[in-house]
């Protein structure tokens, strides 16, 4: 909601720039990862996911990179638009079918026209 963005790291970019949002995950055994976008006052929205048998996956204007060696995940947004302004957070889990997600705290992306 409107208070989700408090206390979060913020990335400010200009419209048209490429944005990179980073996530350090906690469990070296995690092998399924998801990026969510949350706009003010709304529930999280699925953006893209990746399993550990891949190190890169592309969607529409978004790319997720996974580096398991250093437990790092990144979300790249190409040609960022004002509508991309939101809180972005990653989630990790074990790809076993009965695991719960562990969520990162999130990064607020602010896109200026």
């Amino acid at each position: 909601g409107e208070s989700v963005g408090l206390h979060l790291p913020t990335l400010s970019v200009q419209e048209g720039d490429n944005s990179i949002i980073n996530c350090a995950y906690s469990n070296s055994a995690s092998d399924y990862f998801i990026w969510y976008k949350q706009e003010s006052g709304k529930g999280p929205q699925f953006i893209i996911d990746i399993r550990s048998n891949m190190d890169k996956r592309q969607g529409q204007r978004v790319t997720v990179l996974l580096n398991k060696t250093v437990k790092h995940l990144s979300l790249q947004i190409a040609a960022t638009q004002p509508g991309d302004s939101a809180v972005y957070f990653c989630a990790e889990t074990l790809d076993s079918g009965y695991s719960t997600l562990t969520f990162g705290k999130g990064t607020m992306l602010l896109v200026s026209p």
Binding site: G1, S3, V4, L6, H7, Y32, I34, Y36, G41, K42, G43, P44, Q45, F46, D49, F89, A91, T93, L94, D95, S96, G97, Y98, S99, T100, L101, F103, G104, K105, G106
Partner: protein, 115 residues
Amino acid sequence: DVKVTQSSRYLVKRTGEKVFLECVQDMDHENMFWYRQDPGLGLRLIYFSYDVKMKEKGDIPEGYSVSREKKERFSLILESASTNQTSMYLCASSLSGAGYTDTQYFGPGTRLTVL
């Protein structure tokens, strides 16, 4: 598209009241989840359910209970609301995979204020 709906967007209740938050999903998902989201604390799992009549405690179940009588509906109950339960409550659902985890899809959230 997956649709997860929650019964109220905003709710105001008084301390001591019994509160019901309803969640319905229309994609025949086996798994359903209740989270609360607070500034600085992120999303925290309250309860989840892998099947009808089944429930599992999450990270912060104290003060809450749940009910899943039908596959598409998962209710969160605050037996006696307290001010520290003022929060954004989010419901999610996912498919149950045979040996894999599927994405969770979220509802729009219910902002609950307990006075």
